[in-house]
Symmetry: D3
Amino acid sequence: MRLLIANANTTEAITQRCADAARAAAAPGTAIIPATPRFGPEVISTRAENIIAGHALLELLAQHAGQVEGVLLAVSHDTALEAARQLMPCPVVGMTEAALFGACFLGARFGLVTFGGVETYRERIAAHGLTSRCASLVGLDVTPQDSLRDPDGVARQVLDGIQRAVTEGADAVIMGGAALAGFGPQLQPQAPVPLLDGIACGVKFLEALVALNLPKPTQGSLAPPRGRASVNLDPKLAALLRG
Amino acid sequence: MRLLIANANTTEAITQRCADAARAAAAPGTAIIPATPRFGPEVISTRAENIIAGHALLELLAQHAGQVEGVLLAVSHDTALEAARQLMPCPVVGMTEAALFGACFLGARFGLVTFGGVETYRERIAAHGLTSRCASLVGLDVTPQDSLRDPDGVARQVLDGIQRAVTEGADAVIMGGAALAGFGPQLQPQAPVPLLDGIACGVKFLEALVALNLPKPTQGSLAPPRGRASVNLDPKLAALLRG
Amino acid sequence: MRLLIANANTTEAITQRCADAARAAAAPGTAIIPATPRFGPEVISTRAENIIAGHALLELLAQHAGQVEGVLLAVSHDTALEAARQLMPCPVVGMTEAALFGACFLGARFGLVTFGGVETYRERIAAHGLTSRCASLVGLDVTPQDSLRDPDGVARQVLDGIQRAVTEGADAVIMGGAALAGFGPQLQPQAPVPLLDGIACGVKFLEALVALNLPKPTQGSLAPPRGRASVNLDPKLAALLRG
Amino acid sequence: MRLLIANANTTEAITQRCADAARAAAAPGTAIIPATPRFGPEVISTRAENIIAGHALLELLAQHAGQVEGVLLAVSHDTALEAARQLMPCPVVGMTEAALFGACFLGARFGLVTFGGVETYRERIAAHGLTSRCASLVGLDVTPQDSLRDPDGVARQVLDGIQRAVTEGADAVIMGGAALAGFGPQLQPQAPVPLLDGIACGVKFLEALVALNLPKPTQGSLAPPRGRASVNLDPKLAALLRG
Amino acid sequence: MRLLIANANTTEAITQRCADAARAAAAPGTAIIPATPRFGPEVISTRAENIIAGHALLELLAQHAGQVEGVLLAVSHDTALEAARQLMPCPVVGMTEAALFGACFLGARFGLVTFGGVETYRERIAAHGLTSRCASLVGLDVTPQDSLRDPDGVARQVLDGIQRAVTEGADAVIMGGAALAGFGPQLQPQAPVPLLDGIACGVKFLEALVALNLPKPTQGSLAPPRGRASVNLDPKLAALLRG
Amino acid sequence: MRLLIANANTTEAITQRCADAARAAAAPGTAIIPATPRFGPEVISTRAENIIAGHALLELLAQHAGQVEGVLLAVSHDTALEAARQLMPCPVVGMTEAALFGACFLGARFGLVTFGGVETYRERIAAHGLTSRCASLVGLDVTPQDSLRDPDGVARQVLDGIQRAVTEGADAVIMGGAALAGFGPQLQPQAPVPLLDGIACGVKFLEALVALNLPKPTQGSLAPPRGRASVNLDPKLAALLRG
């Protein structure tokens, strides 16, 4: 089974880190194919960057359409998730989506801990229809520099954030964003609830969906584009739109 | 990997049918262990029966605690789902829960077709927090006898129900209940969207959750019972409550 | 009028305490008949216990079907409420349900104060559809031992919890759970809003429903079971399922 | 116990009809005191009339403050309900509010049948926070003249409306508005679910609330007005605002 | 364009202050016509006062029907908003409504800062259907006396409240109520998000709606009253009800 | 006042039609500046196209940043609305957003009529938080060819759709999408409620917002990007991301 790990940021190092995490989670027969967009923001952290990255991601996916059995969007914003699902002839899963659904399989309500603001996650959770299952969103005031300078202090802050989410009713806590990915395995022994990582969840649920072997819809808003004309797009993307 | 396929009805034939479906979906290394409760309704179809079956199911699970890596509740009501999740030291998934989240991975909104009334499903969908993702609930006025007497006519009704759900906005349609299980594979070639079966989805997501190898919570409402006293219960169930 | 006060815990002392509270609230012509289940948890405090108690409660009710004019579920979880409503040929009210609706009759939004976690109540409130009317859930970190050792200190904590709920917008506050029952009358003189007790509310609303003398439904998910087969159940419960 | 049956329309005949229905439902010791406003619409049927009637109703209530133990708002719009609750030193219940909560005590979801448009009821249900418990709103195209000219035909339409609500998931059906009040008792024998009348429900729940003997709030938005100055108001209403 | 600035309080000074703010916001060709009700509360601050003021406001509007092109309700409760919209032959906007929609045009979620309790605003926001866009409601414990005695201290509190709303996710903050009106322009240079004033927003959106020149509905709950009989009402109001 | 009418489709003719409509609605001093993206779909009608057009639109806006006082997104999907709002130093309004808020200013609930599927609009309405105010979504099975071949027949279908929305509770109806734009003025005389056009509403509300002269946020998710690095983007867009 060939799974595309599609970053929506243009920073190759993030792609590689995600691909490594994906390989660690993948079943023996699963091949992990990392991919980075040709253009766009180095690291998505604002609304405008996320929109630009959506196009970049679709162009990237178009290069791999038909050559992979599944796609994991390795970006915490689940950038262009439903458009990717419509465009690609295989299952597509977002890493935050996967972590959210994974958490729902484990408990009644979930929490999420991240660095920086939480509005992106609030909106993602609402878009997935899961607002009533979210017990707590914890945004820690931690910068990437802090993580390098004082990793133990930052780990303590993350653990405090996890505990706060549990106190507010979370049965499982999602580690939100690539920057927090490493903390899950490190802090799990001390954490009172399971900690979920979007890449690991995404790989496993994608393997499950590929195995279910369901067809794509031919009607409705997720049916693949047919006969759509466009100008000045990447040829492979334009071809997918034409159907 | 040993997965318990736990029926909550006492009808052995239903258990076997579910186990067969589970085996068809399972990965090569997955062993399917069917189980039927000692007491309770033959076929759950009312609120009172579902409550009784909850106890029967927990007693049944208690006989297998520690001997299986995962539990699939092979009952469309997701009977006692969160209690089972609390009680058992392994992942637990409900078959309707699995189909619902599977459908959410495939499209923006889902539909569900079933025989008889839809209130059970409406309540399950609300309990999972997924009301806003439900486009259509279609309850067909079909009895088990109809299915035997006129299978082709019933199949046409099911296909009409699927099309109605799609017209109302569904990107994927869940075959609700054991009685509809066989129709998914049969009607998929003619259906305009993917058709989801709870047993197949349940087995695959359970395999994914077992592979993620996450610990159970030690705090919150899903933490296993400790020191809970009871009277006149099955010894193994009472032992699990004592912790 | 004969009202059954049905405990879902097997602790006889709790049944008696609830029956005493019910008698204090009952109208002159109302007879209070206490009842305790044959099996199940001594005190329900986890999800698994609540499921088991559901069956125990239905079995208990079956012994009294036709001999009482109304049933009050004397258990803060409203255990098996809708199943009991379906099964019994008379009105059935849950004590938390009664307190919630009572609070809605008194103010725009309500609060609830309890000992321990609040998730059970959050879920009950959501199940009753009243989430938007809940201003505040206050879970006090108080054990039964604390209540015995320092009753005045605990009373102060409860009063602080009431005030916190009012500050957060509550026009009425529910005393959640049997352990808090006594505090209502004691603290009412100092409290800025009415304090509601589930047993008192339940008895009065049940008297009202009995007086309305409405028939049970014959269609829909609350219609009594008919022709439902079961195995190894209490004979009277099995008889009710057969209809 | 003295209960005020306060109409918000100025049509005395409606007041008398409501008072008769209230007397039929009242317990032996309950005295029913009918009251009609001094000014305002003859029959409220638009938004503007309902606002005007709110003032008329509060002025009317002010004449009776301290002389009654409870107030039933005998108007299907629950006109000025929360303001009346704030102003009066006794429990206040709205007739539609009472029917809605009565229906919630009897089933999982309710329906409502009325003559004319349903938007008023949709808004009342939302204001009470009960939208998720509403299965069906049925507005019949029937005028008062129709009821006089062809009572049997209208009764059949109402029964069809009840059945439609049940088919859409209602476990109990509210007869919405004074014009439908008589149909409940008439059609109940043929109806598949209980039919609720707001006046009867209102009297019984009001008796229950009076018996609970709870104090009014002294804080929050339902605390009685104190020191509020006004101009050109009825002296008794102005006095209540001053506190 | 003639715009009526209709106060619902009887305090002339408030009307004048609102009219001044309206003139400051109005386009060159817009005439501002202030109006104060004949009766009712001097300053609405409770539920009962708001109901009385609803009638007073409709009577006031009836004096101006046909003589103005638009109406701004200069009262933070949006008193009788939809009834006014039904009654008047021109567009009607509420000042809080205008600020809320203005904030929605500027950001994903909004906050609101006010003096005293926030329940009125919570209910207004819910009535407008905008609950999911409200990030924060901040009620400051400030009296009119405080504002006079320590204006700088109060301004600091308001700024702190604004910052708290932003921290909780607000992209824009509404200055709630007449008492806060002046703080918007004063604090805007120091505030991290736009501050919205209901009078200014109301005037501009009303000018926009008047320019759109859309007809009133002739069907539905906003269609003007026709043939409605009433007793003891102001002649012009009664005439509008008759149609 | 200079307003940019930014199409997100690359079809110049649509841009011109929108610009004409905008000019018809604009105040005397308002200049309308039409703009069409350099790349992307000719006509957005699928999810994937909408994502691509988001980038195209932001690139287009970047060419005009600082040279216009306001931006109207002339695309029914409100493509990239919040990203555009974040990126541009002036107010930005979406045409569907404007029509929705305009409808909310006119009635309690609104309807929408469009050609083809309604899921896009359902999602937009939910994203704006206005689901509870939507009474009816009517998708007519009409193609652009139908409009050319049988304009009268199509007009009758649109009028039927409007009436259906009103019957389902709409007080105002939005003409959804560019294809329906012309029908509003044509059918208004026969329609029972106001018909809203997104371009006209957008121009008027944008003029209102520009006149309010509020600053952009400096904190939160709508604060302009600062210091964001990117690769292979249009220089002006990259410059805006850098801040």
